[in-house]
C-alpha cells in the first residue's frame, strides 16, 4: 500500500483541522483574551470546523484504498530528519473524528461549566492548544512529529490540570502529571533515537512496513519496549499510574477531555498506530499484555474504595486503558481501537455528567451528592446511568460490544489465564460502577441541599439558569446517543479499519458471551446487595477488611513510594549532595585557593622587610653560588 498524495480538497481539510486550533490558541491567548465571549466564540468555531472537516474526510474516505501522505521537512540536521505533515488512513481518520468531536463537545459544555470563571478565555485558549496538539499527534506522519505533539499534549494537560493553580493540590497535580509522563517519555525518546540510528527512517508507514525486516529482533524489541515506556507514562499504566487520579484537580470538562480522547488515549493510539511494528516483536506485545493486565486489576481495586466520583472514573479510565492494551497485546488490533472509540464516548459522558453534579452540589463525594438529591437532575442522571452501564458492559450498549471483542482477542491466546483475568476485571468494573450508580439512585436519606459554600476552584456560581443547564446537558445527549449507536457500528468500523477487506472470521465463543454476562451480573448483583436494595448498609465488603481497604485506598502505596523516592533520593541524596559539593568542594576549593594565594602574598610580603642587609645576604649568596656553579659544572 504505497501512500498517495492528497488532492487539493483533502489537503485543505486536513490542514484546516490541524491549523485552526493553533490559530485559535494564538488569537485567544494574545488578542481576544479581554473579551470573554468573543474568545469562546473564536474557540468554538475553531473546534467546530475541524470537526466538520474530520467528518467530511471520514465520510469521503470510507472506502479508502491507500493511505494519504503529505509532509514537509520541518527540521534537518545531522542525519535527523523531522517531517511535519499528515497521514490519513482509517485509524487516524477515526481517531481524528473522535478527538475533534469530544473536544468540540467539551468546549460547548465548558460554556456552562466555566461560566463566570475569571480565567475563562485563557481556559479556552488552553483547550485549543490541547486540541491542536492532539489532532496533530493523531495525524502525524512521522514518529518524531508524533513525539513532538505528544510532548505538547503533555504540556497542555499540565496547563489545564493546574488551571486553578492558586490551589496547591492543583499545581502539584499538574506538575506530577508532567514529570511522570516525562519520565515515560524519556524511554519513548530513547526508543526513537535507537530507531533513528539503526533504521534512519522514522515515518510511520516505513516503521510499520519495514522495521521488522530491517532490524535485528533484539533491537526491535528494545525499541518497541522503549517506546512503550512513553505509553506507560501517558496512558497512566503501571507503574506510572498515579498521576491520573490526581489530575482530577483540573476542571471537570478537562478531565473528560483528558480521559476520553486526548491525553491518555494518545498512549493507546500510539500502540495501535505502530501495531504492525509491535507485531514484529512478540516479546514486546507480551509486555504490553502484562502491563495492561496488571494496571487494569490494580486500578479496579482502587476504584472499589474511592468515594470521590471523579476518582472512581479516573481509576476506571486507567483500568479501561489497561484493558485496551490487553486487547492490543493479545494481537487484537481492532479490539483495542474499537474499545478506545467506545470508551471515548462513554467516558466523556461519565465525566460530563459528573461535572453537572459537581457544579450543582459543589462536592466531589458521591455519597454527599446522593444525599443532596442528585437523582433529581433527570438528564444527567439518566445519561450517567447509561454511560455507567456501557462502562460495565451491559447489552446492547457500545461498551458491551467492544468489551466482547477484547475478550475474544484474549480468548485467542494459548494461555487461558489472560482471559480469566480479563473477565475478572470486567466483574470488578461492574461492581464499582454499579456501586456508584446505586448510591446515587438510592441515597439512604435525603438532606436539604447544602448552601453553595466556597468551593475553591469554581469561580462564582451565578449561572444556574436553565440556559446553562441545557448548554451542559446537550453534549450529554449527543454523547449518550453515540454510546448507544457505536455498539451497532462495530462490524462497519471493523471493515473500515481493515481497509474494506473481509476479515478472517474468528471463532465465535458463545460461551464467552454468557460467561462475561454472568460475571457482570454477579458484580452488579453484589453491588445491589450491598448498596442498592432497600435497607442496604451502603458499605462494601471491603470495609470489613481494613488491610485491603487501606491498600486500595492508598493506591497500593505507589504514591508513597514515589514520594519517598523523590524526597530521599532526588532531593535528599542527589540534590543535597551535589549542592553541598558545589558549595564546599568546588566553590570552597576555589575560595580556598584564593585564600591560599592571599596567604602566600602575605608570606612573601614578609620578605620585603626594608632591611637592606637581607637583600645583601641574598645577593652575595646567589652570586657565590652562581660562581660555584659555573666553576664546578
Amino acid at each position: 500500500m504505497d501512500p498517495v498524495a492528497p488532492n487539493g480538497n483533502e489537503l485543505l481539510l486536513a490542514l484546516l483541522a490541524m491549523g485552526l486550533p493553533l490559530l485559535s490558541f494564538f488569537l485567544v491567548f494574545f488578542v481576544t483574551r479581554p473579551w470573554v465571549n468573543l474568545s469562546c466564540a473564536v474557540s468554538l468555531v475553531c473546534s467546530g470546523l475541524p470537526l466538520s472537516a474530520a467528518v467530511w474526510l471520514l465520510a469521503g474516505h470510507w472506502r479508502m484504498e491507500a493511505p494519504i501522505l503529505w509532509q514537509l521537512t520541518w527540521m534537518e540536521g545531522g542525519g535527523a530528519l523531522v517531517t511535519f505533515g499528515f497521514l490519513l488512513d482509517p485509524l487516524s481518520l477515526l481517531m481524528l473524528v473522535i478527538v475533534t468531536a469530544v473536544s468540540f463537545l467539551v468546549q460547548v459544555y465548558s460554556l456552562g461549566y466555566m461560566a463566570g470563571d475569571p480565567g475563562k478565555a485563557k481556559y479556552y485558549a488552553f483547550l485549543s492548544l490541547f486540541a491542536w496538539s492532539m489532532i496533530s499527534l493523531v495525524l502525524a506522519s512521522g514518529l518524531m512529529q508524533l513525539y513532538i505533539f505528544w510532548e505538547l499534549v503533555g504540556l497542555s494537560s499540565y496547563l489545564l490540570i493546574g488551571f486553578w493553580h492558586h490551589k496547591f493540590s492543583a499545581s502539584q497535580a499538574g506538575k506530577k502529571a508532567f514529570v511522570m509522563t516525562r519520565l515515560g517519555d524519556l524511554g519513548f525518546f530513547l526508543g526513537i533515537i535507537v530507531l533513528l540510528l539503526n533504521l534512519g527512517d522514522l515515518s510511520i508507514l516505513g516503521l510499520n512496513q519495514q522495521a521488522a525486516a530491517r532490524l535485528t529482533p533484539g533491537l526491535l524489541t528494545a525499541s518497541a519496549l522503549l517506546i512503550f515506556c512513553g505509553v506507560v507514562g501517558k496512558s497512566a499504566q503501571f507503574p506510572l499510574l498515579t498521576w491520573l487520579p490526581d489530575a482530577m484537580e483540573g476542571p471537570t470538562p478537562v478531565s473528560a477531555l483528558l480521559h476520553s480522547a486526548t491525553m491518555v488515549a494518545a498512549g493507546v493510539y500510539l500502540v495501535s498506530r505502530l501495531f504492525p511494528f509491535y507485531q514484529g516483536s512478540p516479546q514486546a506485545l507480551g509486555w504490553v499484555l502484562v502491563i495492561g493486565t496488571v494496571t487494569m486489576l490494580l486500578s479496579s481495586t482502587m476504584a472499589m474504595v474511592a468515594e470521590d466520583i471523579k476518582q472512581v472514573w479516573a481509576y476506571s479510565t486507567v483500568s479501561q486503558l489497561g484493558f485496551m492494551l490487553m486487547g492490543l497485546g493479545a494481537g487484537g488490533y481492532f479490539a483495542g481501537v474499537y474499545h478506545l472509540a467506545t470508551h471515548a464516548a462513554f467516558k466523556a459522558l461519565l465525566f460530563l455528567c459528573s461535572g453537572v453534579f459537581i457544579h450543582q452540589y459543589a462536592t466531589n463525594d458521591f455519597f454527599a451528592m446522593a444525599r443532596a438529591g442528585a437523582r433529581g437532575l433527570k438528564v444527567p442522571m439518566l445519561t450517567l446511568t447509561l454511560a455507567g452501564a456501557a462502562l460495565s458492559g451491559v447489552w446492547p450498549l457500545a461498551g458491551f460490544f467492544s468489551k466482547e471483542t477484547v475478550l475474544a482477542a484474549l480468548a485467542e491466546l494459548p494461555n487461558p489465564a489472560w482471559l480469566w483475568l480479563g473477565i475478572l476485571g470486567a466483574g470488578l468494573t461492574a461492581y464499582y460502577t454499579f456501586r456508584l450508580l446505586f448510591v446515587m439512585w438510592r441515597p439512604r436519606r435525603l438532606e436539604p441541599p447544602p448552601e453553595h459554600g466556597e468551593r475553591a476552584g469554581h469561580g462564582a456560581h451565578e449561572g444556574h439558569g436553565a440556559a446553562v443547564y441545557w448548554v451542559m446537558a446537550a453534549p450529554l445527549l449527543v454523547l449518550a446517543a453515540l454510546t448507544v449507536l457505536l455498539g451497532a457500528a462495530g462490524p462497519a468500523l471493523q471493515s473500515f479499519l481493515a481497509w474494506g477487506r473481509p476479515l478472517p472470521a474468528g471463532a465465535h465463543h458463545t460461551w464467552l458471551v454468557w460467561a462475561s454476562v454472568l460475571v457482570v451480573a454477579t458484580g452488579a448483583g453484589l453491588a445491589w446487595l450491598e448498596f442498592g436494595r432497600a435497607g442496604a448498609a451502603q458499605q462494601g465488603f471491603l470495609s470489613r477488611m481494613p488491610g485491603l481497604w487501606n491498600l486500595f485506598a492508598n493506591r497500593w502505596y505507589l504514591d508513597w513510594l514515589y514520594r519517598w523516592l523523590l524526597d530521599h533520593v532526588v532531593y535528599g541524596l542527589f540534590s543535597r549532595l551535589f549542592t553541598l559539593n558545589d558549595r564546599r568542594v568546588v566553590d570552597g576549593g576555589i575560595d580556598g585557593f584564593c585564600r591560599a594565594t592571599l596567604g602566600a602574598g602575605w608570606l612573601f610580603s614578609l620578605l620585603q622587610s626594608g632591611l637592606l642587609q637581607y637583600n645583601l645576604f641574598t645577593m652575595v649568596l646567589v652570586m657565590a653560588l652562581v660562581g660555584l656553579y659555573f666553576l664546578l659544572v
Binding site: Q608, S609, G610, L611, L612, Q613, L616, F617, V620
Partner: protein
C-alpha cells in the same frame, strides 16, 4: 712568603672578614669600615698578581691607586649620606631605616 697563593688567601680572608662585617653590622659606619676592608682585600689581590704574574709591574699599581681613589670618593659620599640619614632618623642603625618596606 713568596708564593702567589699565600697572598691570594690573605686577600681572601680580608675580603671575607669585610663581607662578614658588612652583613653583620647594623651601624652604617661599621658597614662603611667593612667595605674599606673588602676594598683592601681586592687591592691586595691586584698587587699579588702584579708581583707574580703580570707582564708590566706598573699596571697593578695603577689599578690599586684607582681603587684607593674610588674608596676615598665612596667614603666621602657614604659618610655624607650617613650624616644626612642620621639627621633624619636620629640613628645610624641600618635596621631603623626601613622606609623601603611597603
Amino acid at each position: 712568603m713568596n708564593s702567589l697563593h699565600t697572598y691570594l688567601f690573605i686577600a681572601l680572608v680580608l675580603f671575607c672578614i669585610g663581607l662578614f662585617g658588612l652583613l653583620k653590622r647594623r651601624s652604617l659606619i661599621g658597614m662603611l669600615i667593612s667595605v674599606e676592608l673588602m676594598l683592601n682585600g681586592a687591592g691586595l689581590n691586584f698587587m699579588a698578581f702584579n708581583r707574580f704574574l703580570a707582564p708590566d709591574p706598573a699596571v697593578g699599581q695603577v689599578a690599586v691607586l684607582f681603587i684607593m681613589g674610588i674608596a676615598a670618593a665612596e667614603a666621602a659620599i657614604a659618610l655624607s649620606l650617613i650624616l644626612a640619614l642620621f639627621r633624619k632618623i636620629r640613628s645610624v642603625n641600618v635596621e631603623q631605616a626601613r622606609q623601603l618596606k611597603g
